[in-house]
Amino acid sequence: MAEQEQTLVTADMIKNQGVWGRETKSYPVSLSDIRKFAIAVYWPETPPRLFWDEEYARTTRWGGIIAPQDFNPFAWPIKGPTLPDFAMPREGGRGVRGMNGGQTDTFLLPMRPGDVIRARTRLRDWNERQTRLGLTLFIYTETEWRNQNDELVKRHVQNFIRY
């Protein structure tokens, strides 16, 4: 009889729980980045003018173009994105397969052209239980996005599923 696995939790996870990781800084957000993002998520329909028409956007409470809440200012880095160690699957064995379980975002301020966004992430918590996939680990990371004025733009909680 095969030995039943006790846990998929790694020593790295325990060591890193609650510890903020290295900060990542975006390139300045550009009008063109915002326009392209809006076109992509609304495709094939025309996106709202707030995301591409400066003249219209000036008439709104925002006073100019803002980015969609889901805009990603960290796309296309010169060096590839680096994931925190605790988010990576173990080499070999169980826990290597994973999927995106879902997310919660709290939106506090809009991103605007010219903003430089800094992000930092920590492993918040996890839980583990038997599912149809076998022993399954639900990992929750928390990421804060701040702008160049150190204002909190967004809080993002991500659920990674490992099995």
Binding site: I39, A40, V41, W62, P68, N100
Partner: protein, 144 residues
């Protein structure tokens, strides 16, 4: 499109207008480009099948998340705010799926000085499968 919906006009049980997209590589490739999400399971049928999806490549959960935000924005108008959005990715977005965002008002209350409306949301495919259940909190202005 400035303000489409005011706090006073919202009732528990109200539904947001349904918002739909038929999805395939035209949507996924554009999203991969802006979200830097170049992952073979979203680009290549062989990779999708290797990941246990018999129909091949499949869409990004993050794009469904964007569709929910789009539906909320189109309902609310440009002057309002989406304060929070949560969802779980429960089913796969297959090629040529028609995804429709649904939302229903569960509660409204003034909180931290904001007129907040709580909604249950989901993205449902053409078979009726609920793929992305979650909730949203939006902040609405008052008339006058």
């Amino acid at each position: 499109m400035a303000v489409n919906v005011y706090y006073e006009d919202i009732k528990v049980g109200d539904r947001i207008p349904a918002w739909s997209r038929k999805t395939d590589f035209m949507n996924w490739n554009r999203y991969a480009a802006v979200n830097d999400e170049f992952i073979y399971i979203h680009m290549d049928d062989k990779a999708g099948r290797a990941a246990a999806n018999e129909q091949g490549a499949f869409g990004m959960g993050n794009l469904r998340y964007s569709y929910i935000l789009n539906a909320l924005r189109d309902w609310l108008g440009d002057e309002t705010e989406i304060r929070e959005l949560q969802c779980e990715f429960r089913a796969i977005n297959q090629k040529d799926d028609v995804l429709t965002v649904f939302g229903v008002v569960k509660e409204k209350r003034v909180e931290e000085g904001e007129n907040r409306v709580y909604l249950d949301i989901d993205v449902v495919n053409q078979t009726g499968a609920k793929t992305t259940p979650g909730y949203a909190i939006v902040v609405l202005p008052q008339r006058g």
